[in-house]
Every structure is written in C-alpha cells, then in structure tokens.
C-alpha cells in the first residue's frame, strides 16, 4: 500500500484499484475543531476536482474536492456521530470515503510523503 497526497491537503491510501481518501493532519490543524462532516453517497461517481465532501468547523465550512475520479464504494459513517475524529486521527480512523479508481494515470500528479512534507513546510 502506498500513500499519496494532494496540494489541497488530502491523503489517498492506494490498495489495488481502491483508494481510501481523507484529509491530512495539517488540514485538520488549519480547520480547527470539526463539528460536522458531509460525505458523498455510496454509488456516486466522482469526477476529479469536483466537491465531494464538506468539513465544518465551529466557524466555517470547507469543501473537500475529489482528488481522483471514481465511484464511491464506501463512506466512513463514524464521522457522522463523531466528527471530532478528524481532529484526533485525521490520517487513520477519520478516513472519509473509498473510491474505485477510474483512471490510474490520475495518480501520477500526486505527491509522495516526502514531497507533501516539503509542500507544507
């Protein structure tokens, strides 16, 4: 399994043709206390760069854009009851959704861990 990152502070964990997607610890630190997460419906086909989810802090709502295209296979229902998971475990328990990767070439433009660390430095 490898983990890739977008410039917009999302992570993608790639397992075969399935990508699990969430936001980075850096993103949650910028957002502040997360109080609500809206996820896409299972079965929805996402196009790369379209608004796929929404994260709301006390103060504001932020869109999360689909980092790649593909059908939504599964969403993390734990976030509905416990949105603060995004603050406590952004890279782990607070995954947002899984997609079936439609076009593997879309992964080419993403960053690896080292490049992402440089991006936020």
């Amino acid at each position: 399994m490898m983990t890739l990152y977008t410039a917009d502070h999302e992570w993608l964990r790639i397992d075969g043709d399935v990508a699990t997607i969430g936001v980075t610890d850096y993103a949650q630190s910028q957002l502040g206390d997360v109080v609500f997460v809206e996820l896409p419906k299972v079965g929805r086909t996402l196009k790369k760069a379209e608004a796929a989810a929404v994260v709301e802090s006390v103060k504001a709502a932020s869109d999360v854009y689909a980092p790649i295209s593909g059908e939504v296979l599964e969403i993390n229902n734990d976030l509905a009851g416990e949105p603060a998971l995004v603050n406590s475990d952004a890279a782990g328990k607070a995954w947002f959704f899984k997609v079936k990767i439609a076009d593997k070439s879309e992964l080419n433009g993403l960053m690896d861990e080292a490049a992402y660390q440089k991006h936020i430095a």
């Binding site: 502070h9 206390d33 609500f36 709301e56 006390v58 103060k59 932020s62 999360v64």
Partner: protein, 385 residues
C-alpha cells in the same frame, strides 16, 4: 480542500494596543473591520467558547469605538435630549451609573448601528461598532455639535472579561465591582488606572467591559491573563457565544434596511418614546417604527434550530416547504453552538411563519434541511440583575 488563504495586505490593517500580546499568545490573526484581530488562539474556538461559559474569557474589543458626549451647558439632560433625536431609546431617564442598549436609526426606520449608551454623571459615554464608528462620529458631530462636544476616545483600549469567574477576578482590583448589577457602568480605578467599567457583554454571561488607557492596556490584560481562571478568547468564540445568547451582529443580523421591530428589539424601546408616552417619536424613522410597534412588522428576526446535525450558515435561503421555489426568508447568522453540541441559527421570516416550532427549510449545498423556529437565547443568560 482549498489552500489556507492569505489575506491581501492593502489597505493596511490597524492594530489594537493588544496586538503584540495576541501574537505572543499564539493568536491566529485575521482582518476584521479594518483591524488585524485574533480569530482564535492555540486552543481553538471550541475550548475558548466552553472556557468562557465555565470560567472566564478575556476579549480584546479595542477595535470598537468609544465616544464621549459632553454637554456644553454642563447639564447631562441636554446631551440626553440631543441624543434622543437619533435613537428611539429613553436617554433622559437613564440614571447616572447606568447603561442602556440603543440603535441609531435612519429615516426609513432602519438601523444605522447598534450601541451602548452610559450616563457617567456629567457626560454620556457611547460604545459603537468598529465598522460603523466613522459614520457614527459624523452623524453625532452633524446633529449634536450645537449641544455637545463629540469626543472620540482614540487613546483607550476596550477589554471584555466574561464568564462566571469574571467578577471574582475583577473584584481583586476593586471590591465594589461585586456590588455592580447588570448594565451598571461608571469610572473605576483598577490597578492604578483610570478605567470605565460596565457590567455587560456580548456572550450572555455575567461579565464586564473595561475601557483602559491604551498605553496601559497590555500590562493590565497580561495581569488579568495571569489569573488561572482567565483565557484569551478570539473573534471565533465571540461570535459563537453571542449567537447562543441570541445577540445581534451589526451588518449581519441588523442593517439599514431592518427596523428594530423587525429585529425583535422592541424591548429596547421604552414606553416614553412610544405613542402615548412622554416624548413619543422624535427620532429618525419614528413613523415607521411606531407604526410597527402598534401593528407588528411584516417580518421578524427569529431563532432557528436545524433538526439535523449540519450547521446552516449566514446567507442560506429559507423556504416554507421542501419543494417551493420562492424563498420566504434568509439566515443572517448560523453555526455550531458548542454549549449545546448542536447547530443553531437566526434569520428573518414573515410574520406568518414566526410561531415557535414552525418548520421551515433552508437550502444548503442544493439540499433542503428542516429547521424549527425556536426561542432565543439558545443558552440562558446569567446576567446579575
């Protein structure tokens, strides 16, 4: 998600006398009403909010305008009578040492700004909104200069200490603070400084607003923050606290096209300025406002509780049902209420939809979410009456 926005530099932002302290305390600075202000500190909005409700929070509100009205005759009633020409409140009956909430109105009855007016014995002391203060100073100078000297106090900072422990913290400096009641206001000497203290605030909590000389503000604020009960609080929690308390934010819940009656602020208009009172009318927009006091306004500011978990924020359009295409109102403030762990909002709806528990729908990201009309404040206030 979008990259963190960097605010454009021009025009240069003003700094309050506490600016260095905000930076030293890890304040995340944002532009607000022309000032570089902390939206939160390291602990975040949620903890700042809850700390204010359970202990005491210190707010820098130095961006607000402080204005003194000195009667040229030396008689306070002359200043009071003159100010009554600009606000629908009874200022003549405001006793020395007392403060009152007021609004400057326009000819249509809309609100130009909302403010606090205190009687300091030989003069009136006003606190106005930061974004409106230049216009307010012009308004006061144009209308009151014959009777009063209008003196903006630019060399003073303004702090708010709010929460259940605010009184014990402040009473260390002056024991008479404890005897003050909600909306008592007057000069006090605290830590050797000439302060003006009012027992009031913008959180729904017991607390104080303290005007201090600018050059001593940082030292005084640091002393207050040295008390373990006190935490610095940014604009983020200031907004969520006032929303829970059902209090209006000018430019959002109030504006020049909204009357005090529409805004559900009738309680702030005393009998003496109404029909049949001692001095009915005589303020801008009196015809419309007095008419609405008798017959009601076509729309009204109301509390709204979303039935789901999603916050419904400012600007969301409100509909009578899940499918109708015509909006009947709009949310003017909305977000998450940390004390309730639930979303709350306020907005304007037609009188036909103003009854408690009426269900309306807000459009959020293309979906219709149901909300119920609810009484405000959302969190009971704890004023020391």
């Amino acid at each position: 998600m979008p990259a963190v926005e960097v605010s454009p530099s021009p025009p240069p932002l003003k700094q309050t006398p506490l600016h260095a302290l905000h930076l030293a305390r890890g304040g995340k600075m944002v532009p607000f009403a022309g000032h570089d202000m902390p939206v939160q500190y390291g602990t975040g909005v949620l903890r700042e909010h809850l700390h204010t409700r359970s202990s005491a929070g210190l707010f820098d509100v130095s961006h607000m305008g402080q204005i003194r009205l000195l009667p040229k005759s030396g008689r306070i009633e002359d200043a009071a009578r003159a100010l009554e020409a600009l606000v629908p409140q009874d200022i003549l009956a405001l006793a020395p040492g007392r403060q009152r909430y007021a609004q400057f109105t326009n000819e249509a009855g809309g609100i130009l700004d909302d403010l606090m007016v205190a009687n300091f014995g030989d003069h009136l002391f006003l606190v106005v909104n930061a974004a409106c203060k230049a216009d307010d100073e012009t308004l006061l100078t144009e209308h009151l200069s014959d009777v009063c000297t209008v003196e903006p106090l630019r060399d003073r900072a303004l702090l708010a200490l709010q929460g259940p422990k605010a009184c014990s913290v402040l009473a260390k400096y002056d024991a008479t603070i404890s005897a003050m009641k909600f909306m008592d206001a007057g000069p006090r000497r605290l830590a050797g400084l000439d302060c003006f203290v009012a027992r009031s605030g913008y959180t729904g909590e017991d607390g104080f607003e303290i005007s201090v000389p600018a050059e001593a503000a940082e030292g005084f604020a640091s002393e207050l923050l040295a008390d373990a009960a006190v935490m610095p609080i940014g604009l983020g929690a200031r907004d969520s606290l006032r929303l829970e308390a059902g209090l209006c934010l000018y430019g959002h819940d109030l504006d020049g096209a909204t009357t005090p009656v529409e805004a559900a602020l009738e309680w702030s208009i005393q009998k003496s300025r109404r029909k049949g009172g001692a001095r009915p009318g005589g303020f801008p927009g009196a015809d419309e406002i007095l008419k609405q006091l008798d017959h009601g306004a076509p729309r009204r500011r109301l509390g709204l509780k979303p039935e789901g978990r999603a916050p419904v924020r400012e600007g969301a359009r409100l509909f009578a049902d899940a499918t109708s295409s015509e909006a009947i109102g709009r949310v003017t403030s909305g977000g998450f209420a940390p004390s309730l762990s639930a979303p709350v909002a306020m907005g304007y709806l037609p009188a036909s939809h103003a009854a408690p528990d009426t269900v309306v729908f807000a459009e959020v990201r293309g979906q219709r979410l149901s909300l119920r009309v609810a009484p405000m404040p959302f969190v009971p206030n704890t004023y020391k009456r």
